[in-house]
């Protein structure tokens, strides 16, 4: 990029973020427009802004918009978690999955379904408690990672290794419980693990948004400290950043963001890896543009994936996570191969 005039380079990050914002709005409107009946985009926008007749209002505001909003929040949240992790580990292959949070949440969901099912495979309590179980599982997993890592928690590599270990244990226990569990539980759990944008109500969206807000705000507040965290530990401490302490804070923020993202939607794959990576390619090294860009791209990916499954597989409900995985896995391979060429 050094060939570009400096004004163009300086305008690149805001321009890219602006375009992503525009793409997101268009995609979100399309996400609401598509369904059993097509509602033109201008009517969608008008209904969201308060106009429109009653049935259309119900379809747009109660049935379709919540789904798009939760997809945007979850995709964006996962992407922000991935961005923070990729930054702090100085590794573009880091993703929210490595902290064990997602598999911990999955285990929480499976335990909830197993304990709350009766002999005829039906839930004895409301499915609305499933996100609570996911959240508890996520918190338990990340706590276990930090406890196991103990005094070595400030070392990125130790923490990642313990995260991977806890994730593996949670995953195998989840598998066992699904295999021996009742049928209802197995299909419901599989749906969560694949990552599906379920029917959520505005109350649940409110909870997610209100909980995400302080985490996002904190991420923005400490983003100022991310550039020196690009350095090796000695140099970072040399310019006055206590990197080991800062690293712990970022891991905790990423874990919280991941847990909140997956609680309602499930373990959507690869968004947390792809979105921040693409965002950094598009906006460059500015951390604020990186945070916003990651959120927007993550939102775009999950809203888009949900739109694809609704258009392609309707009326069957296929989890949106299958689409992100189908696109994400080759992207991951491509990244790995690029790195190999680069390293060797």
């Amino acid at each position: 990029m050094s060939g570009l005039p400096s004004t163009l380079t300086a305008a690149r990050a805001p321009l890219a973020v602006g375009l992503m914002g525009l793409a997101f709005v268009l995609l979100a409107l399309s996400g609401v427009a598509f369904g059993s009946t097509w509602i033109p985009l201008d009517q969608v926008a008008a209904t969201i802004l308060g106009a429109g007749e009653k049935t259309q209002k119900i379809i747009v505001l109660q049935l379709r918009l919540p789904r798009v909003v939760i997809a945007a929040l979850a995709g964006g949240g996962m992407a922000v978690a991935g961005f923070l992790l990729q930054k702090i580990t100085r590794n573009s292959l880091a993703s929210p999955g490595v902290l064990g949070v997602i598999d911990g949440a999955a285990l929480g969901v499976v335990i909830f379904l197993a304990m709350m099912s009766n002999e005829s495979n039906a839930l004895v309590t409301s499915i609305a408690y499933q996100p609570v179980a996911a959240m508890l599982g996520a918190v338990a997993a990340i706590s276990l990672v930090f406890i196991l890592a103990g005094r070595q928690s400030s070392s990125a590599i130790r923490l990642l290794l313990f995260g991977i270990a806890v994730a593996a244990v949670a995953k195998s226990v989840t598998m066992v419980m699904m295999l021996i569990g009742p049928i209802y539980q197995t299909s419901q759990a599989a749906r969560w693990i694949a990552g599906a944008v379920n029917e959520v109500n505005w109350g649940e969206i409110q909870i997610t948004a209100i909980a995400m807000l302080p985490v996002m705000a904190l991420a923005f507040l400490v983003a100022r400290k991310l550039p020196p965290a690009d350095l090796d530990e000695v140099s970072a401490r040399g310019v006055g950043l206590d990197l080991p302490v800062f690293r712990l804070l970022i891991f905790a923020l990423a874990a919280a963001m991941t847990a909140l993202s997956v609680a309602f939607v499930g373990g959507v794959g690869f968004v947390g890896l792809m979105a921040p990576h693409l965002a950094r390619l598009l906006v460059g090294r500015n951390v604020y543009a990186g945070l916003i860009g990651s959120f927007l791209l993550g939102a775009i990916m999950l809203v888009g994936a949900d739109l694809i499954v609704r258009v392609v597989f309707a009326p069957t409900e296929v989890p949106a996570g299958t689409v992100t995985a189908i696109i994400g896995a080759p992207y991951f391979l491509f990244l790995l191969m690029g790195r190999q060429r680069h390293d060797g």
């Binding site: 100085r90 000695v234 950043l241």
Partner: protein
């Protein structure tokens, strides 16, 4: 601030890694506005001492005073405005630009309430000009040569505007030309910018050439300290480094120059005399 001639005072500092004592009740004054070079055999504790001065290691006992204030009492950014450090093998992302790296030197001068200011811009430009890397500003670090890269790191430390600059073996991976280039730049930090320099160097002859004060460490204690002329004697080098040598005066710079002969702690006076004749 005081008029004491010492910028830093290391007082009975002890430090260990696990059960291994690395520094043993070591005391050392660091003279204001001078280049102090720490030298000694591998594992003598010279890098540990340098890092302790920058508070990267917590002392077991003893303390380090900066202008008579205990460095343990400073907060991270305040200390980073007083003492800069060039790490032994610093690393930064390859796609970072030169200017972005040098900007990080301004990190301790900023906070939420103090965003990037005119002062920061001035210091940034001065640091890049002073180290001759201004024309590289938009180059990616990955595209630079080893010598250029080391200059950029020094520019970052210079932009930090600290009165004390610590450098841990800054010429380790450089060829002969870049070694001289780098150390000439360090000397300019001292002469032109009045910085107090603490330098760890492996090469005794480079140490003798650039040091105002030379400090020999051995086994966690100060073996000797003084001017290069005082310290660079055949007897001293034999006892600290276990090398028999001949020391002559560098005919160009007038500094002592050590010619190693063979390893062996016992100082045999005849050897050097025989080599001389």
């Amino acid at each position: 601030m005081t008029d004491s001639e010492n910028r830093i005072e290391v007082q009975s500092l002890s430090l260990s890694y696990g059960n291994t004592a690395v520094l043993k009740s070591l005391s050392l004054p660091i003279a204001r506005g001078k280049i102090t070079v720490l030298a000694g055999p591998n594992g003598c504790g010279k890098s540990t001492l340098l890092r302790a001065i920058r508070r990267l290691h917590k002392p077991e006992s003893g303390r380090i005073l900066l202008e008579e204030l205990d460095i343990a009492k400073f907060n991270d950014r305040a200390l980073a405005r007083q003492i800069g450090l060039l790490a032994q093998s610093p690393s930064a992302p390859e796609d970072m630009t030169v200017e972005e790296l040098v900007r990080l030197g301004r990190y301790p001068h900023q906070s939420m309430l103090q965003p990037w200011s005119q002062n920061d811009s001035t210091a940034l430009e001065a640091a890049m000009e002073g180290t001759g890397v201004a024309h590289l500003r938009s180059r990616r670090l990955g595209s630079l040569s080893g010598g250029q890269l080391q200059r950029v790191w020094i520019a970052m430390v210079l932009a930090q505007e600290t009165d004390v600059v610590c450098l841990d073996e800054p010429v380790n991976h450089l060829d002969m030309a870049h070694q001289l280039d780098c150390l000439d730049l360090v000397r300019r930090l001292n002469v032109d910018y009045g910085r107090t320099i603490v330098l760890v160097l492996h090469d005794l002859n480079l140490a003798a050439r650039y040091a105002d004060r030379l400090v020999f460490l051995n086994d966690g204690v100060i073996a000797a300290s003084g001017t290069p002329e005082e310290l660079m004697t055949e007897a001293m080098i034999a006892s600290v480094f276990g090398v028999q040598s001949m020391v002559i005066t560098d005919p160009v710079h007038g500094r002592p120059l050590c010619i190693p002969l063979r390893t062996g702690p016992a100082h045999n006076k005849g050897d050097a005399d025989a080599a001389r004749s």
